[in-house]
Symmetry: C3
Amino acid sequence: MAQSSLPISFLSDFGLDDEFVGVVHGVLAKLAPDSRVIDVGHSTPRGDIRAAALTLTRAIQYLPEGVALVVVDPGVGTERKALAVESEWGFFVGPDNGVLSPAVAMTGGAGRIVAIENPEARIPSPGATFHGRDVFGPAAALLASGEAPIGELGPPVDPDTLHPLLLPLPESQGAAVTGEAWWVDGFGNVQTNIGPDDLARLGLEPGSAVTVKVGAGLHSIPWVATYGDVGPGEPLLHVDSSGLMAIAVREGRADEELNLSSGVAVTLAGRGSRSAE
Amino acid sequence: MAQSSLPISFLSDFGLDDEFVGVVHGVLAKLAPDSRVIDVGHSTPRGDIRAAALTLTRAIQYLPEGVALVVVDPGVGTERKALAVESEWGFFVGPDNGVLSPAVAMTGGAGRIVAIENPEARIPSPGATFHGRDVFGPAAALLASGEAPIGELGPPVDPDTLHPLLLPLPESQGAAVTGEAWWVDGFGNVQTNIGPDDLARLGLEPGSAVTVKVGAGLHSIPWVATYGDVGPGEPLLHVDSSGLMAIAVREGRADEELNLSSGVAVTLAGRGSRSAE
Amino acid sequence: MAQSSLPISFLSDFGLDDEFVGVVHGVLAKLAPDSRVIDVGHSTPRGDIRAAALTLTRAIQYLPEGVALVVVDPGVGTERKALAVESEWGFFVGPDNGVLSPAVAMTGGAGRIVAIENPEARIPSPGATFHGRDVFGPAAALLASGEAPIGELGPPVDPDTLHPLLLPLPESQGAAVTGEAWWVDGFGNVQTNIGPDDLARLGLEPGSAVTVKVGAGLHSIPWVATYGDVGPGEPLLHVDSSGLMAIAVREGRADEELNLSSGVAVTLAGRGSRSAE
């Protein structure tokens, strides 16, 4: 029955230059004809597990409960397991390389986990296994359609053996906090891993001028509520739509202005604070 | 009931490098689970209101009646309103910056208009508002699913206060007509804002040689019915699939051959006409 | 009735920079509101009939039976016919330039074929015909929805007059086999038109070292089962997920390492074989 089919949210690093995404959609349509499929995105940098994990954690609360299918898998052809994870949110399907871990944790943690090893849950390949098409896609579709309960996909896996993904936490040193650039979006806005509460602990609040240190560069940037609070071409610090401190330039690109890219250290401090110098 | 949910046609300048489009799809799927979503496109140049408005006017008659969701919003964070507009075609949802105006006018004009300000029609954000995800997407989904009549989204707006979008009209001077390049498609074909009736008034007709002036360049280009009427590599003028005069090069790129880009002035005249010289 | 609408798989060379793909989706949604639409891909190089035909043959067995809509049409505006082809798999809709031929042959051959010429099956254009929007899209939707049986789309076409697509076969010369690069995917993996059976005839088998000749370059590359069987940065030969011999570099790009692109000749031979020298 159509109404009982779960939606599938699909994230990969396949890009859109080939038919890889389309072929996985074909498999999903064949095996779960009544499931809606949402493309979370397919432009994760190739093999960038951290970027994909962060994308999924930013997106997950806005995706309909159902199945999350994530295929970012630099270790394809090695011993990593193919997993299906049950959680309160629904099901997560992807490789055991940490890419699922933060979103699973964020949505209440894992219930049952299995390794997708049952040959009947896979599509036989004429050659090498294309895991998105032959393993992950079919498993996602079988869970979404209800054709196979999770226990039929393969043997149970001990949650304690799962590959974790260690995401760095910001560190406070006196009157400053040091974190890192977490994500640069297509508009050049730079999300950090520093939250507004980290700044509040330093006595900073919206309206404060904040000293932003990137490498040897020091910038005084106002913490504002919205882009309209600064002039065109001017930088701003704000709590972005994910709830994290982000650096932006109105009608410009903060990544270029401040020489920031994913993983670069960023220190925030009150104006005149020694800690940021 | 599925049958009563309206389809949603979604146009933005988000690009496909991030999860922005995917997250809005997630919101639509959560709030309007039975609505079909059509991606009109997401590659409008960032903040280019005119380009998005022209895309929507070219596309609208081919989209299923329902909800048009347009998020091209360079003034995000300023005072512009978020609008929902009722028309005979259906509903238009987007910022009050003119992007909706031509398509609304083309489909019979606005009926009721409201500013999307009811907090219950929005998704609360952990930080800055992501308008596509938190305001426009939810409003489009509520209208599509029938969960909220338009009057519940917020206070009515006087149609006379709407931000217009002034699109230039071609001007006739004697035996010539001057317009501009309106759109360059991915194949390098250049659509102008000049119609076949503008040329008919000059005594030109299919089969005529037309003098095309771009900057200091003068080109004699035949007005033909189809690409096959000229040789490979040769330029042609024709009524394109939107009904406007367009310049193309068979198996080539007219934008490069004639040095044309969006907004550049183009003058068309009969052969030997002084007005085009 | 929704359940009787066929899914439509859509492949084109439109790219995603314009609204072309979105407008065709709009037409499909209007005329076949209950059909699921799968985007096989839209990034085929412009006008590359062979690339599109190969994409379709790789994908077809993974697409749900229904309608395949293919719009790669460098001869638009010439005399080539617009076709609808019935087969055991379902229906194929596209231009008569060979792009459909290999997939039709692979799925059991053509049953009835018609030229889409019935004006009632087309959408009238305000100017030039946009074949995807006005001819191919509507025909695909009418077949998918069951609104029009294939015979109503236009006059029958003799299958023997169809434009074929000649795909080169590998040739054996003594202890070597020469084929060509067939496809370079976005990861830089190079699929050839040589199958494992061609190598088996040379006495080669998984585990063998294979001499790969490209232009003046000679490379000894192991035939392995999976990427994990070689070290990072090392080349490998394997049967890829389409069942063909492919050259890859673990965590690298084989196209760049071996100077390979689509259409380049590739000779495979046993180690020490004269034929490959």
